[in-house]
Symmetry: C2
Subunit: 433 residues, 2 copies
Amino acid sequence: MSLVVQKFGGSSVADAASVKRVAKRIVEYRRTGHDVVVVVSAMGDSTDDLIDLAKDVSPVPPARELDMLLTAGERISMAVLAMAIANLGFRAQSFTGSQAGVITDESHGRARIIDVTPGRIQSALGEGNIAIVAGFQGVSQNTKNITTLGRGGSDTTAVALAAALGADVCEIYTDVDGVFTADPRIVPPASRVHKISYEEMLEMAASGAKILHLRSVEYARRYGVPVHVRSSFSQHTGTWVTDGPIPADFRTTDDKDDTSMEQAIISGVAHDRSEAKLTVVGVPDVPGKAARIFQVLSGHEINIDMIVQNISTRDPGRTDISFTLPMDDGAKAIAGLEAAKEEIGFDHLRYDDQIGKLSVVGAGMRSHPGVTANLFDALSKAHINIDMISTSEIRISVVTRAELLDDAVRAAHTAYGLDSDESEAIVYGGTGR
Amino acid sequence: MSLVVQKFGGSSVADAASVKRVAKRIVEYRRTGHDVVVVVSAMGDSTDDLIDLAKDVSPVPPARELDMLLTAGERISMAVLAMAIANLGFRAQSFTGSQAGVITDESHGRARIIDVTPGRIQSALGEGNIAIVAGFQGVSQNTKNITTLGRGGSDTTAVALAAALGADVCEIYTDVDGVFTADPRIVPPASRVHKISYEEMLEMAASGAKILHLRSVEYARRYGVPVHVRSSFSQHTGTWVTDGPIPADFRTTDDKDDTSMEQAIISGVAHDRSEAKLTVVGVPDVPGKAARIFQVLSGHEINIDMIVQNISTRDPGRTDISFTLPMDDGAKAIAGLEAAKEEIGFDHLRYDDQIGKLSVVGAGMRSHPGVTANLFDALSKAHINIDMISTSEIRISVVTRAELLDDAVRAAHTAYGLDSDESEAIVYGGTGR
């Protein structure tokens, strides 16, 4: 007998009919004799509706109260799902994040899970229940306040619970068939990735692929939880995120057939339109000035991504420092830096939110030289200028103009042989990275 | 400095605009330097909406899950109210029933409060917060499941918290001006009752006056909490429920003027359309048979109200036993008794849901004979037949045909001199009860 954690997102439980459909699916699995823990998000757009309600009474609602409010969303979906399961003749009990033992730090709105103590879940399973757990939420360790984990946090709840319970698999049900080599809305010949390593998935998630919450992948890697991302609207195999083999009990015919596909050098092409570029123009070229800029930003809790430093276009004794950051933090960053303008001594700021970031991710890069050259070649042939570049061991990211991003993604996807009709054709060679 | 618990019902927080209005009212009071704990119900009809959602997935939702679902309603209203208060520049923190220490038994859907341990509320007050508490809900003592107290339960939360915190006053804000001598929709000349004893209020609540939850009055009496029922839409004094004087700090000009009105013999005329009458026809007139009937009913957790036993109309060796019960329990009672038909040996059941109950309540009955005669006389003059009668020390209840109930209420209201234009005219005399 195995234990599976199944997570259903808001689009899978958008209304009563969807809840019933999901209940049926859960019960079908439970009928095979396995234990099931279900993590569920709020129904459909209900979280947005609650945010709208908050904004109706307060332009800047206190974070503690906003968390209290938003957690009502999963409370509703989990109770309704438990009812729908009970109506099919199975036992089910729902649990809030707090009841499920999801202990977090005190950061309202983007709390991190510190510990999971799922004693009540284990008892419920022991009594023959399907346990339904509210995603996205927990309780803070010291003040015992209700916290939320941020958008997409239900994925993390699911993986963290799977780790704490020693589950065999964590299944993330969503409205697409899994992780794709690129966004199929931009690249129609994109294909489903059958299996991907934690590290690659981390890079994909960090590069704008929205299919899994970044922290959920970190959690999965740390505890070695095999994650299966799949559609709640079909029975197809989706994408396995794991460094090991696909767990034997969970292999389907699909899984046995296409192990050959696991050798791809490039797993996928991710893109991100949510960042902006801020340039600090005319920074005195004196030790400590750059550090001061980034201290100011981190003091405002702004995560920056790519950084480039150039000799200033205005004054050879000064430098221009450019970096990318989430567009949502743009105003805050500008205000913070302007306040420190005299101290740092820069000339002015230049803000650009019309940028796009493309990332190519693949563990095969480590052993296959030429991957970078191949990308630059493809982009150049498509007449796309590269504005900034950053790399990790298994990722190359470039910033382009926003309006050229789709073209860039298509060019890269084709260049790495990921278009589904030619997916095995590519050979890298040449100049190294 | 005093401490007040203020309870706002769903109609007072029906939408964002109402929430802001209530927040303003709370803040105005807080500004006077007093501590405030607010108990709030779910917004408007949201509890009904949640019940509808539950019914969409399950005809008979499990009680534990229904409680989990319904408690989302207050979670939303309390967080939004806390935000609205914060937006006015005051500190506010919201607490679920569980966080507020409202400990109940395990009876989902109609749990009773066993204990209140409001440590977190006291801390929040100590830190200068207005504490907002979810009404209607608690956490069960043994299983730590979330429970609800039943319709109107927020009143009980408020009074129980007021008792546990040693509050000076518990204010129940509603959409009417207080307790009336009769329902003004039926009796236009009904007037507001200025002050009423716990005992009278208990009888009124038990007799169908919906303004206060019965258990909240029991709680108030047990702990001597002065309750002030008033409108959230005006600043008028409402109705004081207390056996003592109106607390000095909370007296208004109104209160000083009309102490004379406190001498009324009859406090009010309540009515109830929610009961039905069930007659067990042809019960063998043997010891233990009647007891067996009521054992069966209590085994199904059905509360019966009035009971009448007569010689059977069909067989002088048998009796007919009639009783009233909540209409909602009718089907359950019939099924339970039919199952025990052979054992009890009755002939058949007769069910009548077209009855109405009128109750006249007043502590003055004890010392003023003639009150009953006066009622019968008034009803007879209005050509209203009385079907059943029951009395307590301070209440007379009669059952009439449902369609005559309004006429009966009006006749009684007039007969006891409660019509507001003649409110001091009545003298009882005569035949005793």
